[in-house]
Symmetry: C2
Subunit: 224 residues, 2 copies
């Protein structure tokens, strides 16, 4: 069994290297234009080995989507600081989201652009991740409402709607930040907090939302 | 020339019938599963005539995307009532958006799901429409900020970011309203106004946004 384990370790490591290379090529070239030759070369392995391990271009792409969806979901969950107030939790969660998508631009392109653009099978993978994030944000919003009122008047349906709005806005802003010169993850998060927390009405009358005073540490995703 | 014109009219009408049928089939079956036979049958014409007029399944789908993108953009523009205050304009625009997407569920499925899921060529068509809507909303937000302050402190970049957030939230909520039992266009618009205008912070302390008092007329898209 020891020998088997010793042989299996390198496979897991090599697979991650193949996925690293694949995310980069899929994200930068797009799914259709990405070539398995280029992915194998970037991973430093032979093309037959990529097929042996990941089976096909479709399966390799699916593996990329799954890995990056989990990484993003974990980064957001790890970023939220449950010791903070409701707006502090939202702020730390959004910071984690925009930091992760900015640092992993190829992975974000795979998840939000490529996976949606090349057939229902891949799109379904991303839908599952999105539903998990919406459910998580719905919980955050419900908990925030409960914090403020002992007897919350925010219905479950309303909280779900607000979560959909927040997630849709965050996706849109991540694309915008990724394609607009000079927009940082922190600015994108602040724009969304102004929009979502303070509201346009407050913003326009000169009452923007202010970040809570806290040590300025970038949220870091926990290693799986 | 009179005879030519008389012959051309039925073609324009028939093309619209083909597009009506195609939007319905593409929206309900999905692009891949949609059959040209079924589209021709629903349109009440022969399949060769569909090919003669629209050339191919790809071109027919592109024609559907373009027509429905223009219809949606026009519905939103026509819905905004420039005589109202900033929040009233936003409210009427959002009402028009959610009313149009609810009444044209197949068209919304074509634009927001199918067109994005079946290749970069179709996705690019939708991106062009989205950019037009974002630019329009950026103008609305900038004008609203100018109304409130004589000397606006809202930068162009910040207004563009807020517009991206609003459009992303609206897209997400239109999907949600379309798939959630009992959520009306008006409720979806109200959820987004609470989110975007009043802000979650105000909402949680029991200060939701209230619609302006106005005659309760559903915004109606102007015929092109």
């Amino acid at each position: 069994m020891g020998a088997v384990k010793a042989r299996r370790m390198p496979r897991a490591v090599r697979e991650q290297q193949m996925l690293d290379a694949a995310v980069r090529i899929f994200g930068q070239r797009g799914y259709t234009a990405a070539s398995m030759d280029e992915i194998a070369e970037l991973a430093g392995v032979s093309k037959p080995l990529v097929y042996l391990y990941l089976n096909s271009k479709e399966d390799l792409f699916t593996a990329c989507i799954r890995r990056e969806a989990r990484a993003l979901t974990e980064a957001v969950r790890a970023g939220v600081r449950p010791d903070l107030s409701a707006d502090g939790q939202l702020w730390t969660g959004l910071r984690a989201f925009f930091t992760h998508t900015a640092r992993n631009a190829d992975a974000w392109a795979v998840l939000h652009l490529q996976a949606r653009t090349h057939g229902e099978r891949f799109a379904a993978e991303v839908t599952a991740m999105r539903e998990e994030i919406v459910a998580f944000v719905t919980q955050l919003i419900t908990a925030a409402a409960r914090d403020v009122h002992r007897d919350p008047h925010l219905s479950e349906g309303e909280a779900a709607g607000l979560a959909e709005a927040l997630v849709g806005a965050a996706e849109s802003l991540a694309d915008w930040a990724g394609t607009t010169e000079g927009v940082t993850a922190k600015q994108a998060a602040a724009t969304l907090m102004n929009f979502a927390w303070a509201g346009l009405g407050d913003l326009m009358t000169g009452r923007p939302w202010s970040p809570p005073r806290e040590p300025e540490t970038e949220p870091v995703a926990q290693a799986g």
